[in-house]
């Protein structure tokens, strides 16, 4: 008997191994992009503060 308090998920697709690998690569890409952008802004700020100081 199914648990009445657990909602049933409709249209759920169990990710395949290939899809999970692709998702992991995309996540790493986004993480790398965000990290690079933060570092770039940080270094630019350091330079600008240094110039102003």
């Amino acid at each position: 008997m199914s648990d009445p308090y657990t909602p049933e998920i409709e249209g759920y697709h169990e990710p395949t191994a290939e899809e999970l690998v692709a998702r992991k690569k995309r996540n790493l890409g986004i993480a790398f992009g965000l990290f690079s952008f933060v570092i770039l802004v940080f270094l630019l700020m350091l330079y600008k503060v240094g110039v102003a100081g």
């Binding site: 409709e10 290939e18 692709a22 952008f37 802004v41």
Partner: protein, 322 residues
């Protein structure tokens, strides 16, 4: 019982797209030309820039150009699917979903403009924002499917990068940066129409009013030659500015002479003529003409790299008193 709809964005499951597919959305070959011309603008500006800030600025301009390319692919996904030249792009190939591409393009546009405003100045960032807007709204959405002059007016989007580079270095908007803009603006029509002459079937299939299918191959060939002459004149005009030097005059003269000769060959050829009902000898003439158009298209890419390369080189050498 409660029902939860699990939204994966697609009923077929998760996307199989990797970072490489997103890189492909940024039109890397176009981006390389943008990066190069922006770099030349930055080098030739009368004000110097810290190398780190210069690299950061070029990176932001490259990302902005890539973002505009992604937005263009998002809007043009219907016509890209029917053209042999573009059907393998990530969107028509079904590797990425349209909503992901739109989100990617919008986020990258904002990141690039914000980044350039920090790395360089608000003028350069404003020019980059305007370029993305121009390429996406004015060219892709408005002009591309409406007028055979799409490339002529839309070509301005590709002509802005040296101006952005110049402004990023703190040179503002000057006469020299405007001439660099005009050179790319005048280079764009012969470059794209040479391609359209031997790919007009593709453009016709997609319903894009490129010059050869809208006004005919003969008119396009003549216009290619006229643009080649005007382009040479604008290059000669640059020689009268602070960017002119004897080295520039010699190399640019040779480059433009070759461009004019190739454009003349296209003008006198039968490239792009309708092949329906033609005899074998006439078909052969069309094939020869298409070869001339291919040669001009390939040369036009080398031409732009070489021309901007010599502008930067002669400017750098003048710093050493050469």
């Amino acid at each position: 019982m409660d029902t939860v709809r699990h939204n994966t964005g697609s009923l077929d499951g998760l996307s199989l797209a990797g970072p490489g597919d997103y890189y492909g959305l940024m039109k890397p070959r176009v981006m390389s030309l943008v990066v190069f011309t922006a770099m030349v603008g930055l080098i030739c500006a009368p004000t110097s820039m810290n190398p780190f800030m210069a690299i950061a600025s070029i990176l932001c301009i490259a990302v902005g150009a890539g973002a505009a390319g992604a937005l263009n692919m998002w809007y043009d996904r219907d016509i890209d699917a029917v053209m042999s030249r573009t059907k393998k792009r990530p969107l028509p190939a079904g590797k990425v979903s349209p909503s992901s591409v739109l989100a990617f393009g919008v986020v990258m546009s904002m990141v690039s403009v914000l980044g350039l405003s920090i790395a360089a100045n608000y003028l350069a960032a404003g020019l980059l924002a305007f370029t993305i807007f121009y390429y996406f709204v004015i060219y892709t959405v408005w002009l591309k499917r409406r007028t055979p002059q799409n490339i002529v007016i839309g070509g301005a989007a590709g002509a802005f990068p040296p101006m952005i580079g110049w402004a990023a270095a703190g040179g503002g908007i000057t006469f020299e940066s405007l001439v660099l803009f005009v050179i790319i603006l005048l280079w764009t029509p012969p470059h794209f129409w040479a391609l359209a002459l031997y790919k007009q079937g593709d453009y016709g299939k997609a319903g894009i009013p490129m010059m050869p299918n809208a006004k005919g191959a003969k008119s396009t060939r003549l216009q290619i030659f006229i643009y080649a002459l005007v382009l040479a004149a604008s290059c000669a005009y640059l020689a009268t500015t602070s960017l002119g030097s004897s080295l520039y005059i010699a190399v640019a003269g040779l480059l433009n002479l070759t461009f004019i000769v190739l454009a003349f060959k296209v003008w006198r050829s039968h490239a792009g003529d309708d092949v329906m009902g033609l005899d074998e000898a006439s078909l052969y003439k069309v094939k020869i003409g298409e070869k001339a158009a291919r040669n001009l298209f390939a040369y036009s890419i080398i031409y732009l790299f070489a021309l901007f390369g010599i502008i930067a080189a002669s400017h750098l050498l003048s710093g050493f008193g050469v």
